[in-house]
């Protein structure tokens, strides 16, 4: 019998607000000492009360819309009770009864739509480090704002799960609500998987695997669980409902002794935080700041850039934005400071402060107003730079730092023009492109760099003719001239080569050939 897997995913996204959800302490504890980003509120002293960060509400609105979700005008907070040293208050402040983000969907590159059940705001938990006979508690991460995104059971393959998680990552980074630094746990995935016989209405017993922090891990977990559960079912045995742990090294999941079934969180409305009642005006004002989303870029560049290249570039919001600037749908803000980096980035320092992408001037709304149509006509310049980004920039081992300090739109546009005008050969274009990142040269402008590298091609026909004549006057070319006139096409290559040599490589080969053909006809 054939079994169909059904997968549900809960994704926790850490928001990139300056301060925590309920206190005015630094929300970015990376590289800081344990418990150095902790207020008396986070420490849960007696008599401490939560102080809600209004920015987190605004982030939630943007994140919700990025997933095509409804934003609820009315929402509030609840308490989820459990005892563990990662929860100083003895409860987590979350949104159980009335979350701020309602139903929506995420569209995968394949076109498949995964429905979102809802998403809610909540505080993160502390970090515990376990030793043989004791554990240490670091409260730096306590009440970092999180959005928990709950999917509907619409995922049936490991591949879709991978694409879904990756698309969520893109949406959150493009919407500029998270640094999206997976290595540091900015996004964590809880996956539940069950198998049911093909055609059966009801779902099978599910296993849950918590706290996965890479798309690949999600994919592998599902592949492993599908085969594990299939074996069990084929033996006619039952799958146990349990939480299982993932071992990335062995590529296996193992059952964990857990009190899950005994858990009773006793959710209760949070009495220390007044309810949230947002007007449509307030919500719209925030949505006006939403930047261009991946789907927008796919549409805008469908005629200019090949699909597979777009998909690669969509892992780097700042590159996509640069191309949009070149296409004239976004203002050139390349000097307004760094942006979040790609998904595979390790412990690289995060950009500080708010990215300009959320400031409205270059918002989605504004950009789409600038765009002549949702599908821009083919623009070779954009196509050329897109190719340079993927084939050259991302291949560089320094690409990581390059990504945080891209050349100006003006320089890139000029580079594309010089290539167009044949002033630069394709090899020369690559060299000048890299020059635009070179600390020594970068700020001198494209043309100066090309000159200094001596890469500008000789296109002056008058000058070229003189060189050609000189070459044709040379006795060693006489035979070739005769053969060509006699119809031996390929000798033209020899003659072009001679001219190129004479011009020390500066000549533009195609123009040379043109002139030769004129003279020898």
């Amino acid at each position: 019998m054939k079994y169909i897997p059904t997968v549900g995913i809960e994704c926790h996204v850490q928001l990139s607000t300056k301060t925590k959800l309920f206190s005015e302490v630094d929300n970015d504890a990376r590289g800081k000492e344990p418990n150095s980003c902790v207020s008396p509120v986070d420490y849960a002293l007696p008599g401490m009360l939560p102080r809600l960060n209004g920015e987190a509400i605004k982030y939630a609105i943007r994140a919700g819309r990025a997933m095509n979700c409804t934003i609820n005008n009315h929402s509030r907070f609840d308490r989820k009770h459990y005892f563990y040293p990662d929860s100083p208050k003895g409860y987590q402040i979350t949104q159980f009864y009335e979350p701020i983000i309602g139903a929506g969907y995420v569209e995968l590159p394949s076109g498949t739509k995964i429905r979102i059940e809802h998403a809610h705001l909540e505080g993160d938990a502390a970090k515990l480090t376990h030793f043989d006979d004791y554990s240490l508690v670091d409260l730096n991460r306590v009440d970092t704002p999180l959005i928990e995104i709950v999917s509907m059971p619409d995922i049936h393959t490991a591949r879709d799960a991978y694409d879904y998680c990756k698309e969520l990552w893109r949406l959150m980074t493009f919407a500029n609500v998270s640094y999206g630094d997976l290595y540091n746990g900015n996004m964590r995935f809880d996956v539940n998987i069950s198998l049911a016989p093909e055609g059966s209405k009801k779902l099978g017993t599910r296993a849950e695997i918590k706290n996965l922090n890479s798309f690949r891990a999600v994919e592998r977990v599902i592949e492993y669980e599908v085969s594990r559960q299939t074996k069990i079912l084929e033996k006619g045995e039952k799958v146990v409902q349990e939480t299982r742990g993932w071992n990335d090294a062995t590529g296996k999941t193992t059952g964990q002794r857990s009190k899950e079934e005994a858990k009773d969180y006793r959710y209760m409305p949070e009495p220390d935080i007044p309810p949230i009642n947002l007007t449509d005006e307030f919500i719209e004002a925030e949505l006006a700041k939403l930047p261009l989303m991946p789907t927008d870029y796919r549409q805008l560049f469908s005629k200019s850039i090949k699909e597979d290249i777009i998909e690669v570039l969509l892992d780097y919001p700042q590159l996509m934005q640069k191309l949009a600037e070149m296409a004239g749908v976004l203002p050139d803000i390349s000097r307004l400071g760094p942006r979040p980096s790609g998904p595979s980035t390790g412990g690289r320092p995060r950009p500080k402060g708010r990215s300009p992408r959320a400031d409205g001037a270059n918002s989605r709304a504004a950009a789409l107003r600038n765009a002549p149509s949702r599908e821009l006509s083919a623009t070779p310049a954009v196509n050329l730079i897109a190719n340079l980004f993927t084939s050259v920039l991302l291949a560089e081992e320094k690409s990581a730092e390059y990504l945080n300090d891209l050349p100006t739109t003006k320089d890139l546009t000029e580079l594309a023009e010089m290539n167009e005008k044949k002033e630069l050969s394709s090899t020369a274009t690559k060299e000048v492109f890299l020059g635009l990142f070179d600390p020594q040269m970068k700020n001198r402008g494209t043309r100066t760099i090309a000159k200094e590298l001596g890469l500008i091609q000789e296109n002056d026909l008058g000058a070229l003719e003189k060189i050609v004549d000189a070459v044709l006057a040379k006795p060693e070319t006489k035979k070739a001239q005769k053969d060509f006139k006699a119809g031996q096409e390929k000798v033209i290559g020899f003659l072009v080569g001679q001219v190129m040599k004479e011009s020390k490589g500066k000549a533009n080969p195609s123009s040379v050939q043109e002139i030769l053909r004129k003279k020898l006809s």
Binding site: V25, E33, E55, F83, F131, S135, L136
Partner: protein, 95 residues
């Protein structure tokens, strides 16, 4: 409703108490009385009445996203715990 021994044990687990036999005994009696009393509400008809969780007329009370000096430092806070190590709170092993 009558509170049974296993109910008390369940509630003490939710409350994170380790109760002595005599406590279990007396608490069973107390909680039975208390729950009997609060069950008076059964006779009250609240059909269609919305719940009230807060008696406070304000909404959307929140702060700006700016880092501020806090009322107590890390050292003042960690000084309150019985055991700490490397600026972290030390707890016995988790079974």
């Amino acid at each position: 409703m009558k509170i049974k021994r296993e109910d008390i044990l369940h509630l003490s687990e939710l409350s994170n108490f380790t109760l002595s036999e005599s406590e279990i005994e007396s608490l069973s009696g107390n909680l039975s009385d208390i729950i009997k009393y609060i069950s008076q509400l059964d006779e009250l008809d609240v059909e269609g009445i919305p719940p009230t969780y807060q008696v406070f007329e304000m909404e959307n009370v929140w702060r700006d996203d700016e880092i501020l000096e806090q009322d107590a430092s890390r050292d003042e806070l960690l000084a309150l715990t019985k055991e700490s190590r490397d600026n972290q709170i030390k707890v016995p092993k988790v079974l």
